[in-house]
């Protein structure tokens, strides 16, 4: 169990480090010598959208996980199958 735990933490920190590195790269960027036609604004927006798109799925998963926890807490007091008190009422 503990093994799985620290493994997951390590993965998490890897992800965070990658994200920070990407942000850092965008902050320290000077005009890119090789790639674009001096279109620094375009490069910045590529970076920003890349970071945004990569981060968004995790925010979404976190959101759904949060909702699940609330939902489970809400239904927790009701022991046994929920079918009992959901029984057809019209």
């Amino acid at each position: 169990m503990s093994g799985g735990g620290w493994r997951r933490r390590r993965v998490g920190s890897l992800v965070v480090a990658t994200g920070l590195a990407m942000l850092g790269a965008s902050a320290t960027a000077v005009a890119c010598p090789v790639c674009f036609v001096a279109d620094e604004r375009a490069r910045q927006s590529f970076l920003a959208t890349a970071v945004g798109l990569s981060a968004l799925p995790f925010l979404l998963f976190a959101g759904i996980a949060y909702w699940l926890r609330r939902e489970l807490a809400r239904t927790a007091p009701r022991a046994g199958p929920a079918a009992d008190d959901d029984a057809s009422v019209r």
Partner: protein, 565 residues
């Protein structure tokens, strides 16, 4: 055994069901799973035939290909484009995720059906329509789309450049519909596993293949949105005449590449994870061993899913992205080798101390590990940005990803079919034919792609229909390698006849089997073979994890999940 009274709230009752309601418009997850699988098999044959045609053209340029005719440059492009699209979107995805997911998930978690059966049926219907549209696009005026499966604009955006006014939009429409189908399927899988498990089926008792299908579905759903957005824009460019990707009008061709690869790379892991899950199930049963480090494997697959969102730009090292970005993506790309290597180590460790029986499913599962390792290590050359400059879009890349996709889409699928065939049809496949098919396929597969590693390393690019205008890249030696690969491909295709014969013969005439022919633990083997509509007579209760093989002090070397202690 009498049929359990598990009528669905949708669809018809069990009695008096016609052929149509039973096999075509059924909401039964097993029927839908098999529909996906059969459609995938038909598409695989079509994709294989395409490979035959363009490999013949490469080996014997500008000669008449038997069963096809002359291959023009236009047709060649359409063939490679659609071969790639078909094999990924209409073979790997439907067979591994939709087919296996539908067939296995409810059975493995002890449930009568998916939670949204009608959504499930709709998903298959959309998928079927998408397959039909794709095949129609090949016959459209101007021919099928030939701009590579990555469909980079401006080539794909304008008929002025690609000369396929009908093929390109139809191809794109088919791909978009296919995504919608898997989106619906993925929602269904995830919710079913979260919400409809049998009592006692706690998170750590779920078979690893189910976990992997769910993780893959989540990765798919989180990554596909931007691509659909990009596809809508591309479709508008093609049909309405907007200029989202036209640099002359302020658009940006690189934008599509970002949106495409943001999906495109996670997609690799979307099909990989279910395949490794299948392998995990099979090696435990045939090694009679508990899966080594279940939680670690689960952790590695989650880690793979997460990291897969941070690697996509390694497809764009030479596409004109900021060269400093390339470092980041090299790092993440090589990092993703860590969880995958660990997963493979855990599989190898599972074999240690086992009692290995080399039945056909086990052969396929072991072959997956051996071949996938080749695919994995050759990926390092491509993930490292500097060597990728050279290897990008050469046959080395082609060989590399076939060493990953072939194990995924073909080897793991054969493993799954041979393993679950008794559950699907209540009969056994012929073992001798199975072994023949296995060895024929594996040997010829390697004989196709090892030569391609060499031609790629020698500088030959993919998607070039004739090397006659490149004196340096078409030496006799390289041409002989191309011929070898082509002959091997033909051998591979011929060996599939054995499989098809075995499959359809055994479906009707194979030796009948009971519920649990492999003495396996997971819940699907507690249902009758084939399981009736509704799967289980009574709801199974789960008492332990899925991999309790060889437990000491027990008479039997397996301990099914639903058997009380």
């Amino acid at each position: 055994m009498s049929l359990p009274a598990t009528a669905h709230d949708v669809g018809l009752s069990h009695e008096a069901r016609s052929f149509w309601s039973r096999y075509v418009f059924s909401t039964d997850h097993k029927v839908i799973g098999l529909q996906y699988m059969f459609t995938g098999m038909v598409m695989a044959l079509i994709g294989g035939f395409m490979a035959y045609v363009f490999r013949m053209q490469l080996a014997f340029p500008d000669q008449v290909v038997p069963l096809y005719g002359l291959v023009t440059a236009r047709e060649y492009n359409a063939l490679v484009t659609n071969h790639g699209s078909i094999m990924i979107f209409w073979v790997a995805m439907p067979v591994l995720i939709a087919g296996l997911g539908n067939f296995l998930i409810p059975l493995m978690i002890g449930c009568d059906d998916m939670v949204f059966p009608r959504l499930n049926r709709l998903s298959y219907q959309i998928f079927f329509v998408s397959a039909v549209i794709l095949l129609l696009s090949l016959a459209a005026p101007g021919g099928g789309f030939g701009g590579a499966w990555t469909a980079y604009p401006p080539l794909s955006a304008s008929a002025q450049y690609n000369h396929t006014p009908w093929g390109a939009p139809l191809w794109l429409l088919a791909v978009a519909l296919e995504f919608v189908a898997f989106l619906l399927g993925g929602i269904n899988f995830t919710v079913t596993v979260m919400n409809a498990r049998a009592p006692g089926m706690t998170a750590m008792r779920i078979p690893i293949v189910v976990w992997m299908i769910v993780i893959a579905s989540l990765v798919f759903m989180a990554s596909v949105g931007p691509l659909v957005a990009g596809a809508v824009m591309l479709l508008l460019d093609q049909v309405v005449g907007t200029r989202f990707y036209d640099p002359k009008a302020g658009g940006d061709p690189l934008l599509w590449q970002h949106l495409f690869w943001f999906f495109g790379h996670p997609e690799v892991y979307v099909v990989l994870l279910p395949a490794t899950g299948v392998v995990a199930e099979i090696i435990t049963v045939f090694a009679r061993k508990k899966l080594f480090a279940y939680k670690t494997i689960l952790g590695t697959s989650i880690a793979t899913g997460i990291i897969s969102f941070f690697v996509w730009a390694h497809h764009q090292f030479v596409a004109g992205i900021d060269p400093r970005m390339a470092h980041l993506f090299t790092i993440t790309t090589l990092l993703i080798s860590i969880p995958l290597a660990e997963m493979m180590f855990a599989f190898i460790a599972t074999l240690y101390g086992g009692s290995i029986e080399l039945a056909t499913p086990m052969l396929w599962a072991l072959a997956f590990i051996a071949e996938f390792l080749i695919g994995g290590v050759t990926g390092i050359f491509l993930g490292a940005n500097a060597t990728d400059i050279y290897f990008h879009d050469t046959y080395f890349v082609v060989a590399h990803f076939h060493y990953t996709f072939f194990p995924i889409a073909i080897i793991a699928t054969f493993a799954a079919i041979t393993y679950w065939f008794p559950k699907m049809f209540g009969r056994r496949l012929n073992e001798t034919l199975g072994q023949w098919h296995f060895w024929g396929t594996i040997v010829s597969f390697n004989a196709i792609f090892i030569p391609l590693f060499l031609t790629g390393a020698a500088g030959q690019h993919r998607r070039i229909y004739s090397y006659e205008s490149f004196p340096q890249l078409s030496t006799p030696w390289l041409n002989q390698l191309a011929v070898l690969a082509t002959v091997a491909l033909i051998v591979l295709l011929i060996f599939q006849v054995i499989f098809l014969a075995n499959f359809f013969w055994s479906m009707r005439r194979g030796e009948p089997v009971g519920a649990n022919p492999w003495n396996a633990n997971t819940l699907e083997w507690s249902a009758p073979s084939p399981p009736p509509h509704g799967n289980f007579a009574t709801m199974p209760t789960v008492y332990r994890g899925p991999y309790e093989y060889g437990v000491p002090d027990r008479e039997l070397d397996y301990w099914p999940q639903h058997v009380p202690s």
